[in-house]
């Protein structure tokens, strides 16, 4: 064996090694390839969505530029099309090249309503807030969900299971934004315990790494995080319970019982660890749901994240920014799903072989 590889010419050996490398990690390359393809296809889909946008936007913007800068309409129109990265009079191919060029330069879309505002600047200022809210509530609901789900799976005939099933049914069937609306009505408008808008108290604290600011941020974020957590927890309980019930049927659980281990030990040492693995894939789905749902949730809480920006700008018809923001959200969701897919086989080697 050793002799044959050594006897081969160097180039061939390299190719063979490369082939082996690709074969070994084919799962990862396939996943990355599919993600890139999906991203490319969603760019195309968004481009055609953009073509549906009424064309007079460019004209309005050109008129504005003409008045501002005192140039001829044709020149202003050209400038407007360049700034907005969109010209309804061009044919499809030219427009597509222009659109792709803009994306590669990193220009996601310029607002034609406000000068100096673009999708990039909005993402820079708004994204941290959306990420903060969604990641905190994602992890909170995940940990509550796996704890409750694991407990309930072992005691399927108990009262806890009935309560959990009821909670899953109600939280799964009430639309998330209505939960948010109810919370805002009760805690912000009736009891006045929590604020009904904004992300921190802009009058009394200065942004930065100081205690009052962090306290204010947490105080203002409490209601959004609470409502996201309520909505997501039921889902996690459901998946964890299902996964745990699957694991409980395995032989090693029976063996552990036969050895006389307590149910608690079985739950924490044997069942949960194995039941958690399939839940990793659920992270991507949940993140996507949070990111998409943020549009309505944030507009109910008046929380200045990307979602509020999207819904406000759709209503004010600032489409160029909106399509940039939607492209960015799609890219985020694809990226998170890719990361989840790449991590999963590292944690659970059975997937790579299967």
């Amino acid at each position: 064996m050793q002799a044959t590889t050594a006897a081969r010419p160097r180039g061939k050996r390299f190719l063979a090694a490369l082939g082996a490398f690709f074969q070994k990690y084919s799962y990862f390359f396939a996943k990355i390839g599919i993600s890139v393809l999906t991203l490319a296809l969603s760019v195309i889909a968004l481009f055609f969505l953009l073509r549906m946008i009424p064309g007079d936007i460019v004209e309005l913007y050109a008129l504005k530029l003409q008045n501002q800068q005192g140039i001829t309409f044709d020149r202003a129109y050209e400038l407007a099309a360049q700034l907005l990265n969109y010209d309804p009079n061009e044919n499809v191919f030219q427009a597509f090249v222009r659109y792709i060029g803009g994306l590669f330069r990193g220009e996601l879309g310029t607002s034609y309503l406000e000068t100096g505002v673009s999708a990039n600047s909005l993402i820079a200022t708004r994204l941290p807030w959306t990420l903060f809210i969604s990641s905190v509530s994602l992890f909170l609901s995940f940990f509550i969900g796996i704890a409750v789900g694991g407990y309930v799976a072992q005691k399927r005939n108990g009262v806890a299971n009935k309560v959990a099933s009821g909670f899953i049914a109600v939280s799964g069937s009430v639309p998330d934004y209505l939960v948010a609306l109810l919370l805002v009505i009760v805690f912000a408008y009736q009891l006045k315990w929590f604020p009904a808008q904004n992300n921190y108290d802009a009058f009394s604290v200065t942004p930065g790494f100081n205690l009052p600011f962090i306290g204010s941020v947490l105080y203002y974020a409490f209601l959004p995080i609470l409502s996201y957590t309520i909505v997501q927890t039921g889902n996690w309980i459901l998946h964890m319970r299902g996964s745990c019930i699957g694991v409980l049927g395995e032989d090693y659980i029976l063996a552990a019982r036969a050895r006389g281990l307590s149910e608690r030990t079985i739950r924490t040492k044997y069942m949960k660890k194995n039941a958690l693995l399939p839940l990793i894939t659920q992270f991507g789905v949940s993140f996507g749901a949070l990111f998409g749902g943020a549009t309505l949730m944030e507009s109910i809480f008046n929380y200045p994240g990307i979602g509020l920006e999207i819904s406000n700008r759709i209503i004010s018809k600032d489409y160029m920014v909106v399509q940039g923001l939607i492209f960015f959200s799609a890219a985020m969701v694809i990226l998170v799903n890719l990361v989840v897919d790449l991590i999963y086989p590292l944690v659970d080697p059975r997937v790579r072989k299967g």
Partner: protein, 303 residues
């Protein structure tokens, strides 16, 4: 002589057919209603449908304003009180039921038809057809749906329930398509489909006569789930103030009360009635879907 026998045997056959049909229907109904969840969910949905059909006839809604009676508390005359323009909230909610259900029904039909057809085709044919359909499905699954609903609702002028339903279903068939595809791929390997292939039955026959009936129960459950999602989406779209073609739609009522200002407790009262209606309807659809799931897929009963 020949003719009479034909007629007689024809009548007998028809009689037998109807008797068997009745029997199987009765059996189906008995099976269908053996589950408590199904009964509860189904009856609430039927109640809402009856309200949508007969409600406006019994309690017609009068959209004219009556400022003298604005913000009345609930009474016998106005069971849910009146809004800021003195219009009866109870009648508004009843008038909105039909509008909500219409959107839900149409978009469930569109979603299920697109999702099932593409899922079956993709799962059964395989090869490049499968790859293309899956690539398209991936796009729809990865672009967050809600912003797209809002964007489409803002770009396209929506003035009928059907147009709203089209917008909702365009972006919601992908999950069903993927699930149906997985089912079909496992069914395809089963003996009866293999036999059909060996017997050179046409692809259309295999798809519509063999595969479709086997995923039918799954699709039926997903029809209910699609209705749920459609209500969630349509009310959400209206909640932002888009697609306001029908001011009595529950979402539109909630949005109107919200924009009037939630600092005023009276606006909160108005908003609560449609909100509670949506919650009850959503829970009933979930119950129906779960009940159907338990009856039609008995192997899941362990859950």
């Amino acid at each position: 002589m020949n003719r009479t026998t034909t007629i007689r045997s024809g009548a007998a056959a028809a009689g037998r057919f109807f008797r068997e049909l009745g029997c199987s229907l009765a059996r189906g109904c008995r099976k269908f209603f053996s589950n408590t969840k199904t009964i509860v969910g189904f009856s609430i949905i039927v109640f809402f449908i009856l309200v949508a059909v007969f409600g406006p006839l019994i309690f017609p809604y009068d959209p004219s304003t009556d400022m003298a009676n604005a913000y009345l508390m609930p009474s016998w005359e106005h069971p849910f009180g009146t809004d800021w323009l003195g219009r009866d909230v109870f009648r508004q909610v009843i008038a909105g039921t039909g509008s909500v259900l219409e959107v839900a029904f149409y978009s469930a039909v569109f979603t299920v038809v697109i999702g099932t057809v593409l899922g079956i085709v993709s799962g059964y044919l395989g090869g490049w057809v499968d790859k293309v359909i899956m690539a398209v499905t991936n796009i729809f699954l990865s672009i967050p749906s809600f912003p797209i609903y809002l964007l489409l609702a803002a770009i396209v002028t929506i003035n009928t329930p059907v147009s709203l339903a089209v917008i909702i279903s365009i972006w919601s068939w992908a999950g069903l398509c993927r699930a149906v595809r997985v089912q079909i791929m496992s069914l395809k390997e089963r003996d009866f489909i293999q036999i059909c292939t060996v017997m050179h039955m046409s692809k259309a026959h295999i798809i519509f006569k063999e595969l479709l009936p086997n995923v039918f129960s799954y699709v039926a459950i997903n029809f209910v789930m699609a209705m749920r999602n459609a209500i969630m989406a349509s009310v959400g779209i209206m909640l932002v103030g888009l697609a306001a073609y029908d001011p009595t739609n529950w979402g539109a009522i909630i949005n109107a009360a919200r924009t009037k200002g939630l600092m005023n407790v009276k606006n909160i009262y108005i908003l609560l009635y449609p909100l509670v209606c949506i919650i009850i309807f959503q829970i009933s659809t979930l119950l129906l879907a779960n009940g159907l799931d338990e009856t039609l897929n008995p192997r899941l009963k362990v859950m």
